[in-house]
């Protein structure tokens, strides 16, 4: 039986070959006048710069290996994920960003600490070389879940306000009238991760697992890690979606069990 492939370093030449694939795509765009070349070039440049910077920052943080070094990185990651989660929905309300930040921070912390401390048994639990990549995976999916969930919830409260108010008019409390929109928004936020879990390993190999295998890990070991990751992501997305849905519903009703729908603003501006 062949021994597992050893982790290999990529040379700049090898990276240049990968970049040539993008150049070919750009050339096709030019030839067919798709007008995608500028966006593609910008996206590629950002990928290089962002990942390059992250590589250096991570190297520095991993070497420091302290909670103090982890703090700012944690906050930066949460803030960036919050920005992305809030930008996408068609509608928003005052305070949505604060609530999304809180949802992502709590979700990220609970899920990642559970993984590092209880599942993987890293010592210390905040060891940045484990904590940051795991947190990144939870946040990457959590922010999508929050974004979809918030979009759906605000859409329900705007387009189906008559149904919510009908329930209120018949004696429902705020929660009783919001339960339908909240549950369907949480379900909406969960759809991508549920779909991924349904086809994982069949349609595609997850990036983390592929990366591990390419870096020389035993596939079975990579699979175990991937299962942990998938469960973390699913739990994180569920928790984040539920938190943002409940916090948002509470922000959109007042103590007189009225839906204050004019708190919802249209537009992404």
């Amino acid at each position: 039986m062949a021994s597992p492939v050893q982790p290999m370093d990529l040379s700049w030449w090898q990276l240049a070959i990968a970049a040539s694939l993008i150049l070919i795509s750009g050339a096709v765009s030019l030839a067919l006048k798709l007008r995608m070349e500028k966006r593609l070039a910008l996206a590629s440049l950002r990928t290089i710069v962002q990942l390059g910077l992250v590589g250096y920052v991570l190297k520095w943080v991993f070497e420091l290996d302290t909670l103090l070094a982890l703090g700012p990185v944690f906050l930066l990651m949460i803030a960036t994920a919050t920005g992305a989660a809030i930008r996408r929905p068609e509608r928003r309300y005052g305070g949505a960003a604060r609530r999304a930040f809180f949802s992502l921070a709590l979700t990220g912390l609970v899920i990642t600490v559970t993984a590092t401390r209880l599942i993987i048994g890293v010592d210390p639990w905040y060891a940045p070389s484990y904590f940051i990549p795991l947190l990144g995976m939870v946040l990457g999916n959590g922010m999508n879940g929050i974004s979809l969930c918030l979009d759906h919830l605000l859409e329900s409260f705007t387009l189906r306000r008559d149904v919510v108010e009908m329930e209120l008019a018949l004696g429902a409390t705020s929660w009783e009238s919001a339960r339908g929109p909240v549950s369907s928004a949480v379900r909406r936020g969960m759809i991508p991760i549920i779909n991924s879990m349904m086809v994982v390993g069949i349609v595609s190999l997850p990036g983390m697992m592929t990366g591990q295998i390419l870096a020389g890990a035993d596939p079975l070991r990579a699979v175990k890690y991937q299962i942990v990751i998938m469960f973390m992501i699913a739990a994180g997305t569920a928790m984040g979606s539920m938190l943002i849905a409940v916090l948002s519903y509470r922000a959109l009703y007042n103590s007189r069990h009225q839906l204050v729908s004019d708190r919802i603003r249209s537009g992404k501006g």
Binding site: L168, A169, G171, T173, R256, H257
Partner: protein
């Protein structure tokens, strides 16, 4: 036809100096109105004069700009709005039903906390539906698949089985075809009066107000005048 005089009835629903508006516009100012026990009162006014907004303010779906709403002398309660709204039920102009069966729609308000011990009166719901011309077999059908007219009848039955003290009716027959209006309103008023309910009906249909209500109030923007029909 006013079905019964309520001159001597107790003061049930009182609006004092009520002002209401929507989207930053004041539509009703300083309205004083009293609905007595068993009384049916019509609020008449042209489209856009604030009738719907007024009913929303009375049921507490929006805050009045000024003034107070009292039920049996008590102001609408701090955090007991669900119980208040159950006693003063609003029926919207266009039928609003959940995307579920007719039975689930009728049962739903009995699942709310404000229902207390009250259980779903299934037999009464079925017999009322039949009185309104909706066959029992419809109970298991998705409510939104019914015709708009039938949906409105389901909404009326849903309100009646809640046994509220006051019905706030926002043009409740506007979704019905002209031939059905008379029969539905007759059945509805009879059933409501038999159960001792009062009603505040908003409509622009003066003839309907005369047929259904004991008296009417003319609503005009910034001006209301009370006038007795007949």
């Amino acid at each position: 036809m006013p079905g019964g005089s309520a001159d001597g009835g107790e003061r049930l629903l009182e609006l004092s100096g009520l002002s209401a508006g929507t989207d930053g516009r004041v539509l009703i100012t300083g309205l004083d109105l009293c609905v007595r026990e068993g009384e049916f009162v019509a609020l008449l006014g042209p489209s856009g004069c604030g009738k719907t907004t007024l009913l929303r303010a009375v049921s507490g779906l929006i805050d009045p700009l000024e003034g107070a709403v009292r039920l049996r002398g008590e102001e609408a309660p701090g955090d007991h709005w669900p119980s208040f709204r159950r006693r003063v039920v609003l029926i919207q102009q266009t039928p609003v039903l959940l995307d579920r069966t007719v039975e689930e729609n009728l049962r739903r308000p009995f699942d709310y906390d404000s229902a207390g011990e009250a259980g779903f009166p299934g037999d009464r719901a079925v017999s009322l539906l039949e009185v309104f011309g909706v066959d029992e077999s419809r109970m298991s059908q998705n409510a939104r698949s019914l015709s708009v007219g039938q949906q409105q009848r389901v909404c009326l039955v849903r309100a009646l089985i809640l046994q509220p003290e006051v019905l706030l009716l926002d043009e409740p027959t506007s979704a019905l075809d002209p031939e059905s209006v008379r029969s539905v309103e007759e059945v509805f008023v009879r059933e409501a009066r038999q159960r001792g309910m009062s009603a505040l009906l908003v409509t622009h249909d003066r003839a309907q107000a005369e047929r259904v209500c004991d008296r009417s109030v003319e609503l005009q923007p910034y001006l209301t005048e009370e006038a007795r029909i007949g």
